[in-house]
Symmetry: C2
Subunit: 490 residues, 2 copies
Amino acid sequence: MMHSAMPNWLAKRAFLTPERVAIVDGKVSLTFREFHESVQAIARKLARTGIGKGDFVGLLVENSYRAPQLIYALQYVEAVTVLLNIRLTANELKWQLQDSGCRWLIYDAALSTIAEGLKTEYTTLSLLSYSDIVAQEEADVALATELSLESLHTVIYTSGTTGYPKGVLLTNGNHWWSVMGSAINLGIQEQDRWLVCVPLFHVSGLSIMLRTVIYGMTMVIHRKFLPHEVNQAICQDGISLVSVVTSMVTAMLQELKEEGYPVSFRCLLLGGGPAPLSVLRDCRDKHIPVYQTYGMTETASQLATLSPEYLDSKIGSAGKALFPSELRIEARGKVMEFGEVGEIVVRGPTVTQGYLHSKQHDQETFSGGWLHTGDLGYMDRDGFLYVLDRRSDLIISGGENVYPAEIEAVLCSHPAVVEAGVAGIPHERWGQVPVAFVVLSRCIDQEELKVFCSENLAGYKLPHEIYYVASLPRSAANKLLRRKLLNLLP
Amino acid sequence: MMHSAMPNWLAKRAFLTPERVAIVDGKVSLTFREFHESVQAIARKLARTGIGKGDFVGLLVENSYRAPQLIYALQYVEAVTVLLNIRLTANELKWQLQDSGCRWLIYDAALSTIAEGLKTEYTTLSLLSYSDIVAQEEADVALATELSLESLHTVIYTSGTTGYPKGVLLTNGNHWWSVMGSAINLGIQEQDRWLVCVPLFHVSGLSIMLRTVIYGMTMVIHRKFLPHEVNQAICQDGISLVSVVTSMVTAMLQELKEEGYPVSFRCLLLGGGPAPLSVLRDCRDKHIPVYQTYGMTETASQLATLSPEYLDSKIGSAGKALFPSELRIEARGKVMEFGEVGEIVVRGPTVTQGYLHSKQHDQETFSGGWLHTGDLGYMDRDGFLYVLDRRSDLIISGGENVYPAEIEAVLCSHPAVVEAGVAGIPHERWGQVPVAFVVLSRCIDQEELKVFCSENLAGYKLPHEIYYVASLPRSAANKLLRRKLLNLLP
């Protein structure tokens, strides 16, 4: 019989190393003992409101120490946290809350307007602000000092490039294995401090909160991503690990001073889609230890990550599947050889068992016990994964496959281009053709840019039009939203 | 449903980091790729001999790279390795092989005499020397690229202070969780090299072989424990972690040069029973990072280990139960408060599900889902474990409990005493009284030693006799065998 019970993670950590610093958030600094005590109090207050085992509870909070407090408190009362993206509209939030059957919505004071607006449309929803909870008396209940790896921990709706968002079910076990897989690859060092400047409502931020507690490491929370503050934290505050997406790296590099980062900075974990080689090379030249990673909500964060010794020689690759996980490339139902492009298909203990209210379509996603990610990539001869694109963004032009990310990478490598997005538009002759949307750092003639592209791309890949725009549509996690690019058409 | 399948550990490691050095054994140095290829070849040769899934196979080999080769090869063909102590007599080996139903015995050339002797008494046993195996052709079989955490990995007979030895069943899952629990406490650093100078047929050595593969770390094998060679490996060969028992530390300290160990040496993992405070203090004075640990075969190695920040302030403690595990003190069926002495009782995913051919007595050992270790200890107010003694060695004198380890610690703290062992002998008036066996470094008058004891121990704890001996009886793992002390009586 498999062992599925284990000590509550935060309780165990607070017992093991009570005096280590757990969380730094501006002027707030909490040891694991203090953090655990605050979480226990909040859990007992939540119990007083009636929240208990198996309840789905919406959480709408900004990045601050209150987010991990609430998430660990909900784990303690064995409730399931439905993590809500604070950039969503009221309609989108309402949809997710109703889809997951939440009877409670916990929110930050800063988000009270949208929360209270929701209440008028969703009358059975109980609103609980952070201060409402703090004002409760503590219920006299025994908190769950053990947890089951089989129990649900979180529901996170995926941004979903098409159709309605789907609630990804993540168990304690999915998260635990993810935390272990990451440790085996990145190591655990005594002086480590992990900076959170990605949203804690995304799996990228959530997973940091879980790792730091299980490893006994300090988590430093930034409420917003401000590149000079991140650089300062790395250079002066002993930050050793930071999780980011590409656009954040670009901003950090622009702000970075001549002297670069100190050696204590050992890992820039770069997720959120394939990064342009130009950015990666720039990092390499500046001795920045970029670990490109491939993962998604459905895999509870990192599924594959480059290993330390391959940062240089396999630049551009997202590495290999982490220790407990497996990855292969499939096309037309067959496993591809090295070098052949196909769908990235993954399996392992971090992979979600499925979506809330799983539908027929979802069963296909998990056929044969493998998650069919919809992402495109290939493996090189040594087994390293190269992610090409989200399949749903694929442009098919004259029977040829055109991958937007490839065109974007070329555009970004031009010195005058800050960022670029590519999408397909209908075309009478070729079916689809790519068009590009570009943010410039200085004025440049369109023709010059087209010539630059034609020097670096096959004819069928050349953007038919290049539009200069002020900014690109991005998700809260800073992922480029290619499906929204066409809204920018003049 | 819990996830119990995962990639074969060695195959996965060789895929992830093929060029890292896996094993150094004298002049032999193998990368993970080379090690994996050699193991695959041996696995296919084993398959040719008929060894396959679920077979119990005895392994009688000295410390060398061949031991991990054979153990990983047996895992690959899904056989169960019965690890045999090479110091056992033929009768003892025969008993274990028959008890576990082994039809094969794999052995080293150096141990051919005893292996061949066994064959004459155990005619259904097939003998396979290492060179017999190498001489086989490889069978054309598919090796198991996945393993189940629920499958048996090893059977190890416990030395058993009383009665017949019992075969402890350890699954892949027991080992996996042990490897993870250790990582969370000790960390994983890029330059780590773990030295094996304890027997690979004991769980202490076996667990190093598992950790280094899963972590992607180099394992350096010493065929015998030679203190000056261990010191040299630490000082000149970049060894960062070493697993030892107390008597080995003492020997290492005696050989240690003035300048001490380099900072690259970050962990001396000290198991095998409570260590005298005098030794621990000596290490502290010499800035040696001793991590006292508590574990046994039944817990797949470490169950509790001191955390880095408590090496000084909690000297003498074996720390707290590792992240996935739990520990408490019981007496008369009740859980004890802090400071109260009782039996050490443990639970968690590293704990064996039981013994081979489990008997009524064994079921009591596991009552309530907790393993009753038979060891005595207490927890201090902060929850740190102090191991006092093996309960079976407990001396009860005039109704008072006398713990041999406490008396031994006092004796060892005398400058003329190298090591000491204490056992109980029958006594007309008090039931039992302790007597001591002492190894001296220089001549000293018995009376002086008795006075020294009486200054440090309550009257009922004083040894009635002190015998000077040349050496103490120890197991292959260098544990003091108190039950054999009385054989030394003049």
